[in-house]
Amino acid sequence: MIDKKHIGYAPPAVLWDVEKGRIAFFAKVIGLTDPIHTDDVAARAAGYRGIVAPPTFIFGAPGDSGETMKLIETLEIDLGKVLHGEQRFDYHAPVCAGDTLRFESRVSDIYDKKGGALEFVVNGTKVTNQLGEHVADLHSVIVVRHG
């Protein structure tokens, strides 16, 4: 069982650079062809500050920074038993290539169902940019399945 003492776990904030090459790669893999994700001129013509990150792109930050793995290790979870349960994004401002984002996350709940056969870890992350704008909030639930 995951120790409930980890409710409130809040690692140091992570800074993450939004790279245009990575945005283009991400868009290509999922088949997004809108030029706002690859062409600075098209993005500006559409009213953005620059090349636009696709809606779920910023979820890359906790993977890149090692934050996801650190959370799993800290909570002593077996990686092979982890499933993603829920994910939500609340968007407040665009994320563009060249931005430096700041991610502040916190474990808000840990609970179990089915007599402990399934455990749930709820994580919330506030995302701000170099302009001081609050750009998004992430809400994640990971599931640990036993047996």
Binding site: V29, Y48, P55, G60, G80, E86, R88
Partner: protein
């Protein structure tokens, strides 16, 4: 159907996005693009050790496809909230499709919005992802 914020009505549907069968190549590329390097999605040996028959798709891959389907209908800047629940694992070779339907018009933080119910399902009809988006109409 073209998205027109002035004319959108409850019951309007998002164009369906049908995707090619999930391949190992896509999972490898998505691991790199998304930053999710969990070996359960790319390393069959690790998957076996974890008791799975094979690697399986990242939930976030389906969430990204569903976001693509939405963004191809509604301009991304109108999307205020996008959330999903991962309901079933997507296996290699599965053909998934993304669909959506306007289920409500409402006010959110003082802005007129539409709530769009979103689904990813396998050809068998099994739902793998169930979610919704709030899109601004002003």
């Amino acid at each position: 159907m073209t998205f027109d914020p002035r004319k959108i009505r409850v019951g309007d549907t998002m164009p369906v996005l049908a995707l090619a069968p999930i391949s190992r190549t896509t999972l490898a590329l998505f691991a790199g693009a998304s930053g999710d390097h969990n070996p359960i999605h790319i390393d069959i040996d690790f998957a076996h050790k974890a008791g799975m028959k094979d690697v399986f798709a990242h939930g976030m891959l389906s969430m990204a496809y569903l976001a693509r389907a939405l963004a191809e209908w509604v301009p991304q800047r109108r999307v205020l909230r996008y959330g999903v629940r991962f309901a079933a694992i997507t296996q290699l070779g599965d053909r998934i499709q993304c669909s959506g339907k306007v289920v409500e018009k409402l006010d959110h933080d003082g802005r007129p919005c539409a709530r769009i119910e979103l689904t990813v399902a396998k050809r068998s009809g099994e739902v793998t992802l169930a979610g919704e988006a709030l899109v601004a109409l002003d």
